[in-house]
Amino acid sequence: MEESLFMGKVTAAMTHDMQNVLAIISEAAGLAQDLLVMSDDSVFPLKNRLIEVVGKIEGQVARGSEIVGELNRFSHVPDDKKRQEDMDAVLNQTIFLSAKLSRLNQVTLKVEQLEEPIILNYNPLKSRMLVYRTLEFLTPLVGKGSEIILKPVRFPDGKVGVCFKIKTSTSGKFKLEEIVNISSWGDLESEFVVEGVSIRPSENNILLSY
């Protein structure tokens, strides 16, 4: 079995167990809330405070469940290496998986919706990896409060790719034209060449072409 398939299979099984754990926490919190609501205020003077606390537990269960659900979908990505995919789905999932990068660097990540879908015919795991790598490179550079908008594009040569539109914050000192002088940019370019894709700056954008 290939490593990525093994990793995906094990992760999928673990996420299933995690959803069960979250479901038990959710039901237990729900039951506590039911019992509190039914109880007399004189018996439980802190009833409303406790209901509030249980509400927080439920909120975090919902958050955890969303993360675990997305991780489960991601774990199935290596199942089919020749899958044709809507670029929009690839970008939205990768952005979700990049939430930590976005939060740590205080950069907002968005996907620009297209009316007509652009279909990508590329290894689904690698397509996400290359978008993630680009974001990993860009998010620390663009500055706090900046925005990176990802847009699926079809290039004149028929290839499909992603345009990373960078909107720097007023306090940001990022200059896109200087990106090529950063040593890690060269590493990124070389890494992408090995995968048979290209990455280049163009006006105010970074273009990734599969």
Binding site: A12, T15, H16, D17, M18, Q19, N20, L22, A23, I24, I25, S26, E27, A28, G30, L31, D34, M38, V61, A62, S65, V68, G69, N72, R73, H76
Partner: protein
């Protein structure tokens, strides 16, 4: 008092018992089973309005239970409630004969709403 009878089948005992208690507080009678074999045994003597069924269980899987239930008791509506994150389409056609496919964790009000709809459909079929 709602007067509904639900068979809840899941190998996660804590989940089953807690959810059963919560449904009970809302006036719903709940019969519980912790595996597929146990559920089929219960159905020999008792006819719930709706069955809530997990998919991944040791022994007989939920999809096999569903298949058997649909053969033996075609009017019984089954709601799949599972921690499996994949889409219903990815679960060997389960979506074709289950009334609804829900992912854990589920909000109690959503579950009760689905139970009510399933009972309505079951009454129309029977």
């Amino acid at each position: 008092m709602i007067n509904w009878k639900v068979l809840l089948v899941d190998d996660e005992k804590d989940f089953v018992l807690t959810l059963a208690e919560r449904l009970g507080l809302r006036g719903i009678e709940v019969i519980t089973a912790f595996d597929g074999e146990g559920a089929l045994q219960i159905l020999k003597n008792c006819r719930p309005d709706v069955m809530i069924l997990d998919l991944m269980m040791p022994g007989m899987s939920g999809s096999v239970v569903l298949e058997k239930v649909k053969k033996l008791y075609p009017g019984l509506q089954v709601i799949i409630l599972t921690g499996m994150g994949s889409t219903p389409e990815g679960t060997t056609g389960v979506d074709l004969c289950a009334f609804e496919y829900l992912s854990k964790p589920v909000k109690i009000d959503d579950l009760i709403d689905k139970i009510g709809r399933a009972i309505k459909k079951g009454s129309a079929v029977n």
